[in-house]
Point group: C2
Chain length 301, copies 2
């Protein structure tokens, strides 16, 4: 049992991380910028805003966590790729890490993105050690820069730092403007859905498996970047088709009605050798199971 | 004439930058964390601490500078390579840049370091575009990470950002613990100086030429990294020998009495093609002139 601090704890990724950590018996301290829920079940909730002046330094000092999962970031759908808030989150994340080390912290998992890789170089699988980096967005650059500074700082401070590099996720509680929820909700309302051809191949993982992998990464000895992904490619056409079949309204999807986005890569699929061999994590849900659970969640939401 | 904000304005680099900007007729707003001197000669001094909560945001908003030279950083001799303060200066620098853009700023010069380059790959000249990067120190990593995030942010915000990559500097007002002042002061006191063999080849530039190059870079249209250096290599043995000759106490220098530092690169010399061709800067002082002026300054200090 480890005393673990989780930031962004009421978020799409943070909340299932909190749940999974508690299930595995850790002493979880969950920080949310929203109203803190009542505690219980191994979780102590704290209201704290990393964006506030002074951040959460005093809170971190009081908790004195041994481990950290930093899931807070700016995640507004559509806007987050280019938002200037990405710049602020670099400094906030470094301040958090400083406070964590000052409080005696020993092992941290920070979250990165597949947008750190160079998407202009087509690769069958994107690997942590072999594939070129080269973010094309402010979001990717902010995460890339943070990783470099945080990694050097962790080495200097002699703490372990792992970098969970997330690919594409979906699942319950995802922001409604994002792809899967937007399609599910339109179809549930009986509205037609216009999409591109959907030929892009992506690597999707259910958020509960993302959380499981993050917790497994925290519990492992792996350091540096580790892709958090399924390792399998699927076309968005297949994903949307599956969702439409689950809702029972396949006739409402109009593939090819929207133009392709210029510059969007054809294929983004993770090499998950590190996740399998060093972290030992294997997803619990297949894509079909995960999408079925997600559609059910939106049906009853 | 441009309204230019300078941070770290009472520092070793910042102060001659302020002087040179004023000499060239700019409307200079100089921020120092120390007591602000009286203004005059085109310079308005402001007391402000980037390390304070809220940094200098209100100050920057009030000044509304068109241009920025950000010379503030943690520079404690000996300690700065590994100091955790490097981590804090990443966030502070990004906050400053955010405030500068919010205030309507258009062109910024930030300062980097030759320690951003990979020193384990021997190169005759280190070039901004061709030489591999790979900082081995927290100082180098912090500057490298800052450059990546700041560069992406500047592109997004549509401002111009140039990155003056400093090599080795010397001159008046340098911190006494650093190489040239330490040697000069010991010799002036008649004390012997124990050194390594001094075989390392370095690229030295007088701080007044560093400041001249930074101002020229600000006035140019160049963006991205630009080496600020002489482009010529000199052994530390030659530098120390020259200093000893200028002081008139060559017999006090004991070369080879200290062991070589493991892992220290043999040669670090800048490719100055960008500085010459795109910025159009040529140093005013030769190394012999610069060292002579520096010894004179310490003599009368």
């Amino acid at each position: 049992v480890t005393r673990v601090l989780v930031t962004g704890a009421s978020g799409f990724v943070g909340f299932p991380v909190v749940t999974e950590l508690a299930r595995r018996g850790h002493d979880v301290h969950a920080i949310t910028s929203r109203t803190a829920p009542a505690g219980g079940g191994g979780v102590t909730w704290h209201q704290g805003d990393l964006a506030a002046r002074g951040g959460v330094d005093a809170l971190v000092a009081g908790i004195a966590p041994e481990a950290l999962v930093h899931a807070a970031w700016y995640v507004e759908p559509g806007r987050f790729w280019t938002a200037v808030e990405n710049v602020d989150w670099v400094g906030r994340s470094l301040s958090l890490l400083r406070a964590f080390v000052a409080a005696g912290g020993r092992r941290a998992v920070l979250l990165g993105t597949c947008a750190e890789y160079d998407w202009t170089e087509p690769q069958e699988f994107l690997a942590e050690l072999g594939s070129p980096l080269g973010p094309a967005t402010l979001y990717g650059s902010a995460k890339d820069g943070l990783r470099r500074v945080a990694g050097a700082y962790a080495a200097q401070a002699e703490i372990e730092l792992a970098w969970g590099r997330l690919f594409f996720l979906y699942g319950p509680r995802e922001q409604p403007a994002r792809l899967v929820p937007a399609v599910v909700r339109s179809l549930l309302r009986g509205e037609s859905v216009a999409t591109t051809s959907g030929a892009q191949v992506r690597d999707l993982l259910h958020v509960d498996d993302v959380a499981g992998a993050i917790v497994a990464l925290l519990e492992s000895a792996a350091v540096g970047p580790v892709n958090i992904a399924s390792g399998s490619g699927v076309t968005l056409r297949e994903v949307i088709g599956e969702v439409a079949a689950l809702v029972g309204r396949p006739e409402l999807v109009r593939f090819g009605e929207l133009p392709e986005r210029p510059g969007e890569p054809e294929r983004l699929v993770a090499d998950v050798t590190r996740l399998r061999a060093e972290v030992g994590y294997h997803p619990r849900l297949t894509l079909a199971e995960g999408l079925a659970a997600t559609v059910e969640w939106w049906r009853s939401a």
